[in-house]
């Protein structure tokens, strides 16, 4: 029997989206790395979120508060019962970040469009520049779901207890070879390397590079289990600022069904600057 994803309902295909373009219970949300891509054309009826200008607090390093999140959903015409389908560029990297944030505030009906924007475009499906407007809703967010977010204290405890961590950055960032990246002064860290005990499984390995769709369940399971990331223990995933690791978090939690997975959104830009934090350099966890 072919293994299926643990929560297959969280993934929808482009054909499903095409059939639900005028479904009032569904809201399409485009979330990209590139801040202007939505404006060049998007799926008809889709609204935009930008992870920097829409999802983050403009002053503190944090994302939206619960009240701000409610306002955002209301302004996008998202009600508590709306099925929200995220898609975006770069293999759904920032679509997964938005998915994670909506999960944090307890939205129940969340989906990722498999293959993202790239697959929709490659299939020759329609794009429009028309920006839709929806009547505001009376959205009520739930209190934050702390179980899916790791703060630095959680990571310290995790490291002390020898529990598994996944570093989803590139191998060069993991070993510490890339630290003083030219022209990257503002998002750098004082130290290079990885969190003590973390294994390196670059986020992009979960995705088929040709189609942008997630790899089949058996391949995904092998990818993580070979490196000792198994469902029996709580896992923390991180990257540089917590966006690439949102995709890995989605894969572990929804495609493979791991019960306890957290995303450490402080990630390397926090850990690599923390005084006294345990760091390893090189290829060894």
């Amino acid at each position: 029997m072919v293994e299926s994803y643990a929560h297959p309902e969280t993934l929808v295909e482009t054909a499903w989206v095409a059939e639900h373009l005028s479904d009032p219970t569904v809201r399409l949300v485009e979330s990209n790395e590139d801040a202007l891509l939505y404006e060049t054309g998007h799926i008809p009826g889709a609204v935009k979120v930008d992870w920097f200008t829409t999802l983050q607090d403009p002053v503190r390093r944090d994302f939206l508060s619960q009240a701000e999140f409610e306002n955002l959903c209301s302004s996008l015409g998202i009600g508590n019962e709306t099925t929200v389908v995220f898609y975006g560029d770069k293999n759904n990297w920032f679509a997964c970040y938005a998915f994670w944030l909506f999960s944090y505030y307890g939205h129940e009906h969340l989906r990722i469009m498999n293959g993202g924007r790239q697959k929709w475009v490659k299939e020759g499906r329609p794009l429009t520049r028309e920006v839709p407007a929806y009547p505001p809703t009376d959205y009520k967010a739930r209190p934050p779901v702390r179980e899916i977010r790791a703060f630095r204290e959680d990571v310290f405890a995790h490291v002390s207890a020898n529990r598994p961590l996944v570093d989803v950055r590139s191998p060069q960032e993991y070993t510490g070879e890339l630290l003083h990246m030219p022209n990257y002064p503002q998002e750098g860290a004082m130290r290079g390397g990885h969190i003590q005990g973390a294994v390196n499984i670059p986020w992009s390995q979960a995705v088929d590079p040709e189609t942008g769709t997630f790899k089949p369940p058996a391949e995904l399971r092998k990818l993580f289990e070979e490196k000792g990331i198994r469902p029996d223990r709580e896992v923390i995933a991180y990257c540089r600022i917590g966006e690439r690791s949102s995709l890995t978090w989605f894969v572990l939690k929804y495609l493979l069904g791991y019960p306890q997975v957290r995303n450490y959104d402080g990630s390397w830009t926090e850990w690599g600057n923390l005084v006294g934090a345990p760091i390893r350099k090189g290829a060894t966890p």
């Binding site: 590139d34 060049t40 030219p182 503002q186 998002e187």
Partner: protein
């Protein structure tokens, strides 16, 4: 922040236009630049591998320079699906068109901060801009040698 001195005239105008725009208008203006980026000239088509790569960008970007009548002309190759980066490339290409290599070298490395795009784009996206500036300066140095 005021527009820094020592900018070629057209670049100074572009920076000032952005500076005067508010929030979302800055992105709309950047989109107009993104859409104005010309395709590679014929002599560069198929020779992308010989162009200078800009590896700091999260998007595959390449740039080449030519000099005509003492003025530099920069040509960028940027994927369609990266309009923000295309916008940066178009600003540099248009703003520095015909500038002397010395003028290019004399550009303050942070001239674009006066445009205020960092209010609407992350520092990581802005780093793509500073990487492109570094690479056009490298190409200008080659002309002076």
């Amino acid at each position: 922040m005021n527009v820094p001195g020592r900018l070629p005239a057209r670049l100074a105008e572009i920076v000032e236009d952005f500076r005067l725009c508010e929030g979302r208008e800055k992105l709309e203006l950047l989109l107009q630049y993104a859409e104005s980026l010309p395709p590679l000239p014929e002599w560069l088509q198929g020779r992308e591998m010989e162009m200078e790569a800009v590896p700091e960008c999260m998007t595959p970007v390449a740039v080449a320079a030519e000099i005509r009548d003492g003025g530099m002309h920069f040509h960028f190759k940027v994927p369609e699906e990266s309009p923000t980066v295309r916008g940066f490339a178009a600003i540099i290409a248009e703003g520095l068109q015909g500038a002397s290599p010395e003028e290019v070298l004399d550009l303050p490395a942070d001239f674009y901060l006066a445009m205020g795009l960092q209010e609407v784009l992350t520092s990581q996206r802005m780093n793509g801009m500073s990487a492109m500036v570094a690479h056009v300066k490298r190409l200008a140095v080659e002309q002076i040698r």
